[in-house]
């Protein structure tokens, strides 16, 4: 956020910075709850999962704003916004259908499920955005790096949550991994804002795994 402000990219990537500001506030909140109630307390667990859900939704909208940047020239922003809301609602309905079996603490189960599903939906959407960047030959280096960093972040989280569901007994190990992976996005975005100017260009075809 500080890097974006210093480089004059704060308003240009407003949703990304709103997400970063929210994650700083959430981290402070988590630390407060952790120091007062302890790691094993239900207060911390509730705060952790509910705040994670809010952050995931904010990140989802940050991703939508990147779509708006890529498709901005096609004047498709209204459709992007509408599509994002419909997809979010669809994910929420699917998550509700999954947690319906639980009789107690259904809201908590719903929040956790929604968060995990949104990571996977976010990953698929980031991949589609990356495909669009390649197809449309988008050359803005800063935008390309922001999208790629988001892709790495979403895939790390989606993979870790999937492993956690496969091996629930190792849940604490995967939670620790998630804390570490949480650093990826702020570092990569800070680098993109700090080191790359808005005019810097890159040929995305050179970045593909299979040379084009």
């Amino acid at each position: 956020m500080v890097c974006a402000l210093k480089k004059g990219a704060f308003r240009r990537y407003l949703f990304l910075n709103v997400y970063m500001a929210a994650s700083v506030l959430v981290s402070i909140g988590r630390y407060e709850v952790l120091s007062h109630s302890g790691f094993e307390s239900s207060a911390y667990r509730y705060f952790y999962y509910y705040s994670d859900s809010v952050l995931t939704i904010l990140l989802y909208f940050a991703l939508t704003s990147l779509y708006a940047h890529v498709f901005g020239e096609l004047k498709a922003n209204r459709f992007v916004r509408l599509g994002a809301v419909i997809l979010l609602a669809g994910t929420a309905v699917f998550s509700y259908a999954v947690v319906q079996q639980y009789n107690s603490r259904m809201l908590t189960h719903f929040v956790v499920e929604l968060s995990q599903n949104l990571y996977f939906v976010g990953l698929v959407l980031t991949y589609l955005l990356w495909a669009a960047i390649m197809k449309m030959r988008e050359t803005r280096a800063q935008l390309v790096q922001l999208v790629l960093a988001l892709g790495v972040y979403f895939s790390l989280f989606a993979a870790t949550y999937a492993l956690r569901n496969l091996y629930p007994s190792q849940s604490s190990v995967f939670l620790s991994l998630l804390q570490m992976f949480g650093l990826v996005l702020p570092i990569a975005w800070a680098y993109a804002f700090w080191r790359l100017s808005m005019d810097e260009r890159i040929a995305p075809a050179r970045l593909a795994m299979v040379p084009r």
Binding site: A141, Q145, L148, L156, I202, M209
Partner: protein, 133 residues
């Protein structure tokens, strides 16, 4: 079943994004020429080879760290490790993949040499500031 499917998809896409991200980090340095001094120190005249990478990284560790390149070096170091793994396993069976890994490893070495150049300049600036102070 569903978590296993999500896991496989996520790892596949992670690989795709990670490779593209590292290539975007390396791409900027590929256009920068090396100074005569760095060419002499690293032994890289025009084209680097993958074998140069560990040596250049050792030289990098001799220079004071500059905070903004630390993360990039780690990311590209991880990418180089991944390329080595592919080279010694799957690429043995696929010649086209082997030449691709060789090219990428060379790009990593060139990136490290450009970073070395920046660190030397950074160290000189620091020294000059200390002398002035």
């Amino acid at each position: 079943m569903m978590p296993a499917f999500i896991f496989v998809c996520s790892i596949t896409l992670l690989l795709q994004f990670f490779v593209s991200y590292c290539r975007s980090l390396i791409a900027a340095s590929a256009r920068q020429p090396l100074s005569r001094e760095v060419q002499d120190v690293t032994g890289i005249q025009k084209n680097a080879s993958g074998e140069d990478f560990p040596r250049v990284i050792q030289l990098l560790h001799l220079c004071p760290e500059s905070p903004d390149d630390r993360t990039r070096i780690r990311a590209v170091g991880a990418y180089f490790g991944m390329l080595n793994f592919v080279r010694s396993t799957v690429a043995r069976l696929m010649p086209s993949l082997r030449s691709w890994t060789e090219f990428e490893r060379a790009q990593c070495a060139y990136f490290a040499a450009v970073t070395l150049e920046r660190r030397i300049a950074f160290s000189r600036d620091m020294l000059a500031q200390q002398m002035d102070g």
